[in-house]
């Protein structure tokens, strides 16, 4: 299974790249599995994620060809 991953705003700076293709050996994986694979930042709900442009959470099950976007929380005003 392959997914396309994009990192947005300051997460892109923390991760050091803007996008990549990620492959999984098994047939099933969650967003949390993906995050653990691509990042040293602890898997945490404070990372926001959208799959195929729809906001979701770390338990979301991925499918082959999904586009996953990670972005940071923002609270300043």
């Amino acid at each position: 299974m392959k997914v396309k991953v994009r990192y947005f705003a300051s997460l892109r700076d923390k991760i050091g790249r803007s996008d990549e293709q990620v492959s999984f050996d098994g047939a099933s994986a969650t967003v949390s599995d993906l995050w653990t694979k691509v990042s040293n930042i602890p898997a945490s709900d404070s990372i926001l994620v959208a799959v195929n442009m729809e906001y979701t959470n770390m338990n979301h099950k991925l499918k082959d060809g999904d586009e996953v976007a990670f972005f940071p929380p923002v609270t300043g005003g």
Binding site: F8, A9, S10, R12, S18, I41, P42, S44, D45, S46, I47, L48, A50, M53, E54, Y55, T56, A69, F71, P72, P73, V74, T75, G76, G77
Partner: protein, 278 residues
């Protein structure tokens, strides 16, 4: 409102015309003041009157609240409730364009009122010069048509969201830091719309930073704040915003914008409370 009538009131000879009643003069002044937006097919005279009759609660008069307030006031949102407990500091001035050197040390509501009235003197302004919480928060939210959250911290944002849920008030929420920002419209007036609590959980604190700690490029607050003002006006004019149930992400470093669809979280306690509101 026809083009011809607009042209008639836009001529420079108006101050020399005979004065009629004060009411007529006010209407004429407003026709001139708003003539450039009244030329839009989207804004009729009745729409302008709707803007003038609308009460918006603006929470936070800082980097986001400044451009939002300036454009809402100049566009003729007639009633503004300004909420901020902060006083103006020198480090605010690079991005908080409501305030100036002469305002240092003043409460931001006072400073903002003076600036907004200097642009549009007939605005009705209510000041809440404190950090919103408890009964004052609920009274403020209940008395307005729409809430704009431009505050700078999560506790206020969660409290505002919960109060909007209790009072079924639409909530336009924006945030900004570094060179990035977000904006969403949470339609608490609709039964199954997602809310701020569906997006963020209050027990998270990793990676959360403030403009004081993380820094901010001033015009990025302007980008988000002007989007918030635009969506507020669109909501009043049409009953909906392009950000209804959407999360807008702006990454100014790469001039990149991204919309994600938000879904109502079935386990969201705020939405559960909203569904049982009277």
């Amino acid at each position: 409102m026809t083009d011809a009538s607009l042209k008639a009131v836009s001529t420079p000879s108006i101050p020399d015309e005979p004065r009629t009643t004060a009411k007529t003069e006010l209407a004429r002044e407003q026709l001139i003041r708003y003539s450039r937006q009244l030329r839009l097919p989207d804004v009729t005279a009745a729409d302008q009157q709707r803007l003038l009759n609308t009460r918006v609660a603006l929470i936070g008069l800082g980097g986001l609240g400044s451009p939002t307030a300036l454009y809402l006031a100049s566009s003729g949102i007639g009633h503004l409730t300004l909420c901020d407990g902060d006083n103006v500091e020198l480090s605010n001035l690079h991005r908080q364009l409501l305030h100036s050197m002469a305002d240092l040390g003043r409460n931001k509501c006072d400073s903002a009122q003076d600036r907004l009235r200097s642009i549009n003197p007939v605005l009705s302004i209510t000041k809440v010069p404190e950090y919103l919480a408890g009964p004052v928060l609920d009274t403020t939210i209940a008395s307005c048509d729409l809430v704009v959250d431009a505050s700078d911290n999560f506790p206020t944002r969660f409290a505002v969201n919960a109060s909007c849920a209790r009072h079924l008030k639409p909530l336009l929420s924006g945030s900004v830091i570094r060179m990035e920002g977000q904006a969403s419209m949470f339609r608490h007036d609709l039964l199954h719309a997602p809310c701020y609590r569906c997006l963020y959980s209050p027990d998270e604190d990793n990676l959360f930073g403030s403009c004081d700690g993380e820094g901010i490029l001033a015009p990025v607050a302007g980008i988000i704040g002007t989007i918030m003002a635009t969506e507020t006006l669109k909501f009043v004019l049409t009953g909906q915003s392009s950000l209804d149930g959407q999360l807008l992400q702006v990454d100014a470093r790469q001039l990149n914008m991204k919309l994600s669809l938000l879904r109502n979280d079935p386990s969201c306690p705020t939405c559960a409370a909203r569904r049982t509101s009277p």
